[in-house]
Symmetry: C2
Subunit: 387 residues, 2 copies
Amino acid sequence: MKGFYYHNPTKLSFGKSTEERLGKLLGDNHNRILLHYGGGSIKRSGLYDKVVDILKEMNIEVFELSGVEPNPKLNLVRKGIEICKENDITFVLAVGGGSVIDSAKAIAIGALSNEDIWKFFTDGIDVSDALPVGVILTIPATGSESSPSTVITNEDGMLKRSLDSDLIRPEFAILNPELTLTLPDNQTFAGIMDIISHVLERYFTQTDHVDLTDNLCEATLRSTINNAYRLKENTMNLDARAEIMLSGTIAHNGILGIGREEDWASHRIGHELSALYGTTHGVTLSIIFPAWMKYVYKENLDRFVRFAIEVFRVDGEGKTLEEIALEGIKEFESFLEDTNMPIRLSEIGISVDQFELMAKKCTNGGTIGSFKKINEQDVMNIFELAK
Amino acid sequence: MKGFYYHNPTKLSFGKSTEERLGKLLGDNHNRILLHYGGGSIKRSGLYDKVVDILKEMNIEVFELSGVEPNPKLNLVRKGIEICKENDITFVLAVGGGSVIDSAKAIAIGALSNEDIWKFFTDGIDVSDALPVGVILTIPATGSESSPSTVITNEDGMLKRSLDSDLIRPEFAILNPELTLTLPDNQTFAGIMDIISHVLERYFTQTDHVDLTDNLCEATLRSTINNAYRLKENTMNLDARAEIMLSGTIAHNGILGIGREEDWASHRIGHELSALYGTTHGVTLSIIFPAWMKYVYKENLDRFVRFAIEVFRVDGEGKTLEEIALEGIKEFESFLEDTNMPIRLSEIGISVDQFELMAKKCTNGGTIGSFKKINEQDVMNIFELAK
C-alpha cells in the first residue's frame, strides 16, 4: 500500500425529498448565489421551482446561468465567472448532473482568480482559492458531487481537460434518488458505466498489498452491476435507483483509491472521443475500457483473474489463467451489451479517420496511465481493438 | 435504504513516518496545546520525543496530561478540562489508541462548556462546541480517529457511557502502520475484534435494500479477517499492519452504516463488563458478539445465511438455512479462537454473580439494539449463552 492523504468534507444529505434541506445546508452566510443548471428538465420536474422558492424565502438574491451541455464548455464557464465577479457572488449552486457540477466548479475557481481559467487546466497552476459549491444531483454518474475534479471542454481546438483540487470538493451534495426515476435509459446506463469506470480506474493497479481496497472495489462493482440489472428490468425501482445513486458517490469520493496508484488512461482516451465527436462520456468508456483491458491484461494477469472471479464469479475450474482473465473481460462486455451500451466505435459511427489525431492529442508526446504506460502507438492499437 | 446525513471532514495522513507531517496538519493557528497520552510506550518508542520536538520547533507551548488507562476515566477527563480552561488551550493532541482519543474528545467538549462534562453522557445535552482534536494513532481498534464518538467510564458507580457528536470528529488523524509493529499480540487481536465488531454492529440490520453497504461491510470483514491471519503468522508483517490500520478507520468512519439502522446492543452489553471488571473492550466483544448472534439469528435468518456464505465462504450445499447460519457463527468463533481471543466469560474468570446487575444497568428499564430489541431478561439470556 502506498502512503496517502485523504480529506473529503462534502456533506451528504441522502434520501427522499432531501432537496428540502437546501436552506439548512446553505446556512446564513450567502445572500448572493449563482444558480447553475442545464436545460428544461429541472423545470419540467418541478425541482427548479422548489429550489428557487427556498432561496427566495431565505432572501437570497439568485443569479441564474443555464445552458450547460454534456461535456461542459469553456465559454459558458467564462460567462459564469463574469457573472460571479460582477455581482459579488459568494456561492455556486449546481442543480443537475456531472456536467453542471464540473462547470460550477470551474466557475468557482475562476471567480476568485485573475488568471485565465483555462490556464488552470493546461499549465498546472495550483488552485489557491475557490467559491464554495453546493450540489443537487439529478444524474448519478460522474461522482463529481463529492470529488475534487472538474472536466471542461475548450471549443477552441476541441480540447477536453481535467483539473483536480481539494478546494473544489462540493460543500454539500443533496442526493434524492426520486429525482432520478425519470431519467431516460441511455442516461441511466451511460451513468452506470461511468460509475463502474471510476472503480475500474482504481482497481487496475500495480500497487501491491491493497487487499482492503481491492475488496471494497469489488464490492462496489458487484453491487452496481447487480442494481443495473434490476433497473434494466424496471427503471422505476426506487430501491435500485437509491443504490446506484450511492454507488456513484462511493465510486468517486476517493476512498476506493486510497493507497493505490490509479490508472485513468481509458478516461484520457475517452475524452478525445468526446472532444471530437461530442460522444457521451459513459459511452466513450464502455467502448474504450474493454479494448484497454484486452490490450493490457498481460501486464498483470493475476489482477484480471481476480477481476473475473470476484466481480463476475467466473468459474476457473480447468481453465488457464489467461482463459479466466479473458472470460472476465467477455463477461464485462456482455454486461454492457445487456444494458444497451455500445462496445465498438463502429456502433456509434466513428471510423478510423481520426485515430492518429486523437492518439497524438491525448498522449501529447508522452505516456498516459500507470497499469501500463500507454504511448501514442498504444492508443492507436487500443482504437484498433475498439473498432 | 434509509435516508441519511453524512459528514466526515477528518484529514487522514497515512503511511510510513507520517507523524512528520504533524506541523503541516496543525497549521499556524494554535500556540497552546494539550498533549494527551497514556503511559510510557510512546516514550520508549521515541514517538513522544519526535512529537515534542516538532511542537517546540513551532514555538507551541505544550501542556501535558498523561495517564490515560484502557476504558478511560472521567476523573482524568475532568483534570484535562481544568488544564485547558486555566491555560487557554486551543487544541488537544491525542497520541495513543482509542482510550486516549476518547479521553481527548471528552476534554475537548468540556473545555468549552460550563456544564459538568458527565451530563453530556447521561442527560442527552447537545454538544454545541468543542476544541479541535488531532490524533497520532498507535493502536488500530476503536476507529475513534475519525469517528464522532467517545466512551468514558465514571468510576463513581462504574458507569461506562458513550456520546456522539460530529463536532468531535478529529480534525486530522496521522496513521503510520510502523507505529503498530511492536504492539503485543493481545492488543493486536483485541483491536482486530473491535474493528470487526464495528462492522458487525452495522451489518446486522433489519433495513432492506442496502445492497451496496452490505457488500462493503462483507468486503471489510473478509479483508480484516484475512489480514488477522497474516499477523497471526508474523506480527512484524508491515503490509498486514497497514491493512488492519486502514480497516480500523474504514470500519468506524460511518460509511459502512449509511442508510442502515445500526444495532450496538453487543457494545452496550460489553460496556458493562468493562465497567465492572475492567475487561478490555475487544475482549468483551469477542465474548458477547457470538452469544448475541446465537440469541438473535432467527430474527432474520437470511442475513445470517448471507453472513456465513459471504464472509466465511460456508458451503451451503445440502444444508438447511438454519444450519448454514449456525455454521457461520461457528466459523466466527473459530476465527476468534485462532487469534487467541476468549469467547466465554469463564475463560476470563467472570461468573454468574453480577449478570443481573449488569443486565439491569445496561437496559435501564428499557431495551437496547435494533436487530432485535433486547430487554433485561434478554441480556441475562445472552450472558447465559456466553458463560
